[in-house]
Symmetry: C2
Subunit: 461 residues, 2 copies
């Protein structure tokens, strides 16, 4: 396995000159921020954090994170106002304001993607005021423990996570953050040790602040339903792996199992998916014999971490509603750039006009149930008693197509993400496999559909 990993490392590790460039650009940003603070009379100072600061960045990750640290006692509104003032001054016209827990500014700067993030300089990490305040502490913790060898191992871990599709804590991915990759590698001493351990992980696997595996019932209670628990060494109340979904967890564990049984570069560098032509898409859909329903609307201008949970919520609400009415969704997914799409693939999209309405078992009075339906215009047959002794009516179904069901569900804005409800009201459209041609002109959407139809764990492509 060693030559394989050396090869991988050669491809993912920045060269000496690339590191030099990154360091120079990053230092430039830090100096710029400090200068603007002085000019504007703001009492704050800049700190370089993230993977470039720790030397654990993959060569094609060109992200620079500069935090603007404010004193702990400052009121929150003041921090946000002053922080933005500095960041805007630094970024100038090229800057773009974004919102996570705090507002921050993103800019392109000499080929890098730079985030300027105001936060509190909190001494005691258990008393932080918002999630970003933890980052400087993570920075310190990791820096103190990383040797050059360990940095290489972290790169392998990250490249493996990325190649198997589970890299990134953002809500679009729900995978492993860079910090989590670093911690896991530090805890296990090397990439290979981590893979060997993870191949045996079960949902509920937990590591304490010292990196040792624990079997603690208390953990199971506090971090309920979290497939992986990795206690933050800088804050024992926090699970660094909280964003990891069961899907990402299981994908990573499978990847480790499969990698051990046949190590291959494809785990780090999977085959790319080729965008399918319209004809290929039509053929694939025909061979599936299903029906697509696409709920499409303009992106209401939310950051991905706010948008994706709302898209997923909308997706779940539709699936639930369809299921409750008797339709079957075989698979579904969501996609977004300037447009948003909730894609529902139905294996059952037409229902007969008759539906069964079960009443109470014989141990309960059935009078009301019978009165309610006996005189109903919907009644086709009944009441009669089924094999289980329950009263049954057969009634006429209100809606017999999944499209109608989705159309009606869309009216019920409570079940949708709140910004999405509005975006749909302003101009949502219901498309199907025949009417999605317009969307397919977007290369991103075409890639999404191509990936959807050929879905496969990346290392099996």
């Amino acid at each position: 396995m060693e030559p394989l990993l050396r090869n991988v490392l050669r491809r993912v590790k920045p060269t000496e000159s690339e590191r030099e460039t990154a360091r120079r650009v990053a230092d430039g940003v830090v100096r710029l921020v400090n200068r603007k603070c002085a000019e504007l009379g703001v009492r704050a100072n800049a700190a370089l954090v993230g993977s470039i600061a720790r030397g654990t960045w993959l060569r094609d990750e060109k992200d620079i994170d500069v935090f603007i640290l404010f004193p702990e006692h400052l009121p929150r509104e003041e921090l946000e106002r002053e922080g933005l003032r500095v960041a805007r001054a630094v970024a100038g016209k090229s800057g773009q304001e974004r919102y996570a827990e705090h507002p921050y500014v993103n800019m392109r700067y000499r080929g890098f993607d730079v985030d300027l993030v105001p936060c509190y300089d909190v001494r005691d990490p258990s008393r932080i005021k918002s999630a970003v305040d933890r980052t400087p502490h993570h920075q310190r913790y990791v820096q103190e423990r990383l040797t050059d060898e360990l940095r290489d191992e972290v790169l392998l871990t990250k490249a493996f996570m990325r190649g198997t599709g589970v890299y990134g804590a953002e809500l679009k991915i729900q995978g492993f953050s860079g910090y989590l990759c670093e911690l896991l590698t530090i805890h296990h001493g090397s990439f290979t040790n981590l893979v060997r351990a993870a191949a045996g992980w079960k949902p509920g696997t937990a590591m304490g602040a010292d990196g040792k595996y624990v079997e603690d019932q208390e953990f199971a209670l506090i971090f309920r339903d979290q497939p992986l628990v990795v206690i933050d060494p800088t804050d024992p109340n926090r699970n660094v792996a909280a964003p990891v979904s069961l899907r990402s967890f299981a994908t990573f564990v499978r990847a480790c199992q499969d990698f051990l049984s046949s190590p291959d570069e494809k785990f780090f560098f999977p085959r790319r998916i080729r965008p399918m032509t319209n004809a290929e898409i039509a053929r694939a859909l025909k061979s599936r014999g299903t029906r697509l329903i696409l709920l499409a609307f303009r992106n209401p201008g939310l950051v991905p971490d706010v948008l994706y949970p709302q898209l997923r919520k909308t997706e779940r609400a539709m699936i639930q509603r369809l299921g409750r009415e008797g339709y079957q969704v075989i698979r579904s997914d969501v996609w977004a750039n300037s447009m948003c799409v909730v894609l529902l693939e139905l294996s059952l999209w037409r229902l007969p006009s008759v539906r069964t309405r079960l009443g109470p078992p014989v141990t309960f009075p059935g009078g009301d149930f019978i009165r309610e339906h006996m005189s109903s215009k919907e009644r086709l047959a009944g009441p009669f008693v089924d094999d289980a002794g329950r009263l049954v009516f057969e009634l006429r179904r209100e809606r017999t197509s999944a499209e109608e069901c989705v159309r009606s569900a869309v009216q019920d804005s409570r079940s949708l993400g709140k910004n999405i409800a509005e975006a749909i009201r302003k101009g949502g459209r219901l498309l199907n496999e025949r009417s999605m041609g317009g969307l397919l002109r977007d290369r991103g959407f075409r890639m999404f559909v191509s990936e959807y139809l050929q879905r496969c764990l990346p290392w099996y492509r």
Copy 2:
């Protein structure tokens, strides 16, 4: 309620002259059997049993049961041979041999339907050799307890059971036998008391040999899954209500509840169902929007108590198979006269070509599962991981129509009743709602379909 019940009684109780006729005909049969025994040198004697013997027959029930009692020590083959010899001699050409546990002979005689049933004259009812040997003991038990008033109450009970569709222990009905009606009436003292008690029955209701309700865990174990237990006073190991299905049980209990809240003659004399015309049937089916599959074949010449369990078994096997392959049966039923029909009504009869094949969760090795399907020509997508962390393949489905599924299930004769498997092989046909015109020429089948489409508890018609 009293005038109502008096009216009912007037309609169901045989007149004095009807009783005189029945008694005379029955006595004639008994004498005839005894004479033939003497002539043929067979050591046996006749006994009149059943509702005519006890004066508990409804006026349009014209059934005479004459048992031919043989000594206990006789070998079984000899009993069957000698019994049939006597019965055949009595019945002559009009007789028809039938098979229950023993063979017996049925004949039309002066407007009555007469069964001549050989059995053992067993002293101790707990040592009987076959189910029919119990009948003479039941006869004695009931005769000793019935007063004239109680006979009227039994008639009401029977008429109520008949009117609500649960009268008869035969496997076609799975309801309440005449003897059970008598016991329940004796135990409760009157029809009205029985109805009041039964309105509160729950599945698992049990009465001891003395007719008192018991709450005995032991009963629940011995008579597992039997909704009603009524211990036979002549044999404490036997549940007289064993044939009562949960459906019949629940129907009767509902009928009692509904009758108490609004007593009406319709519980005893429900509206008859009118046979529907072809156009009405087509219209009803269209408004249901379902698809019928009818498995039709010639009746292999079995008595109903043998035929119906096999038809039900076949029906269940088809429903299970269809369900396993993803189709949905909304309702089904069986019918027989010279033809047999298993009717399946499908609410889902077409499936897309893609199907989901779930693999093991991440805690189990997935290698074999992946290898099996990875190279399969059926693979459309996968392997990927679902939200629950399970491996998934999407495969091409072999059969996409319920007809194909039934056609293939019919090949698998193990799942069918054994005589039915052969009857189907000899010339079974698969029909649907458009091709069932030939069957509809049979008035019995037309009634069956009419009842099926308008199915309703009789007192709600």
